[in-house]
Subunit: 348 residues, 2 copies
Amino acid sequence: MKSDYIRPLDIRHGSVDLSHGGGGRAMVQLIADVFARAFDNQWLRQRDDAAVLPAPGPGEQLVMATDAHVVSPLFFPGGDIGSLSVHGTVNDVAVMGARPLYLAASFILEEGFALADLQRIVTSMAVAAREAGVPVVTGDTKVVEKGKGDGVFITTTGLGALPEGRRLSGAHARPGDAVIVSGTLGDHGMAIMAHRESLAFESEIRSDTAALHGLAARAMEAAPGLRLLRDPTRGGLAATLNEIAHQSGVGIVLDEAAIPVARPVAAACEFLGLDPLYIANEGKLVAVCPAEEAESLLSALRAHPLGAHAARVGEVIADGHRFVQMRTLLGGRRMVDWLAGEQLPRIC
Amino acid sequence: MKSDYIRPLDIRHGSVDLSHGGGGRAMVQLIADVFARAFDNQWLRQRDDAAVLPAPGPGEQLVMATDAHVVSPLFFPGGDIGSLSVHGTVNDVAVMGARPLYLAASFILEEGFALADLQRIVTSMAVAAREAGVPVVTGDTKVVEKGKGDGVFITTTGLGALPEGRRLSGAHARPGDAVIVSGTLGDHGMAIMAHRESLAFESEIRSDTAALHGLAARAMEAAPGLRLLRDPTRGGLAATLNEIAHQSGVGIVLDEAAIPVARPVAAACEFLGLDPLYIANEGKLVAVCPAEEAESLLSALRAHPLGAHAARVGEVIADGHRFVQMRTLLGGRRMVDWLAGEQLPRIC
């Protein structure tokens, strides 16, 4: 019977096979039963090859960001690849100062991946998108043979609207500016690492994965002269600050005593010989603002649940070498260079 | 020395390692030497986490499409995963009637993948984007361990501008409408298949991969009442027409004698026992228009280099069962159902 061609999948016991990416009936079933059901919204219901969407208002520019997510393991304390793939891209849009509007999602599934795990991930993604107020408006699914992928990879692309004239950029830091972080460093990367290595610390370390556009909006209100926002993901605060130093042609000096690190993360870092400055965050902002706006910005961040542990951690200086340095607890200075190699693979 | 931190990669002999996805110096090098160099444009040069872009003009809507590309092999006669990943997404935007504006690209690389192959693919992508006039404005790179990917997967997301009031949709076909294809069917899928299986036919079969927004614009001019455009990729013409029948609540009757198939593709299909109706195309449009506009549309398509073999292949009928059928060469009728399983995995 053609009229009932969308039969329910056996989500409890079934797994992905190559037909789910083939463009035929099985793919239509998977999309209807798993994706369309979880993400349901007026744009997805258009069911065409692309979504037709209202453009931003007059006087607004577009912001576009894309991120592939390959985190391993797929599920970890505090989140999973689904919520992470929403937060990561929402945050890339938000740090430009833009209001996130829409997400597109593409899935690369490995043959044999449990449909129950896929549904759990898609549900988590849908919840994260709804909480962030950013609908998944279009998507795509491909399937690769067993051994040619790793469960699921998710690429999300975000669109946002940015008022004309507002421009935050990694190139805007100036000597004398304050460097502020919105909370403790290293939570996400260390949660993945501890979970991957089955390390048991006194208390579970949870990923900080969260959508930061609300916090970013507060920051922009509180510091009208805000130079830039960044989310210090792969490579941690060290990579983010080196990028900023390079883009802006400045130096940055951090104050080790001021850098917030949660006690279990600090303990785990010490145990594993890792430096929290290099560890990924998925729910933290780095802000650079004129020194005279630093207190106002700090207060605004601390008044928001995602910014309770915000701290002023350093300052921008004139430095033709574009060095990032740290005043250590012992009173010396050390370089905070880029990481040359790979500290934690597949962290996001 | 920090100031020369971007040293050239050994693209000729090197390969991707996990550090190229780590957020540190190696990743910055890869992005600068391979991606930024090939795609260079004013948006990418912003070098922030997202691109800031002019919004469409007043009276225009946005169109957003995303597609993961996992084609195997990566290189095939007529194209490669790079050009395909540009054309596929440009076409998803174009079939909505929109003018493609921007592309975002995300790469999932497998550890050990030859940098020379990566550069060849990225160069092909850059050429395709330039020819299409659609810049790659932002991107992302991740690396997975050897055996957890397959060389490279590329997800592209496209944005386009659609005039208010124009709406092409798979839900708009009406009984009496003409069904038109812009050229021969099955070229892409059969090129992949023949190459994969090392089949040698009398003449090489080449993929038809091409950007179709120019052809789509001609179609819209020539047939102001145009109901819809589609690009019949995975699942071929059969899947596309079944989708349209389902979305529009109509039946479709094809005329086997009218369906254009290139001779080597027909021969290969016969040899392999495949049906060209189910084989993917990457450079063809399906159009549905009012019968009285069919001749004008056909003439316009045939006047364009990508539409030389355009043909009217069927008509839309009233049918509560939403069947797609074909009048065969022998005068009978047969069902053209969805494919139940997978005919050709990883075709795009």
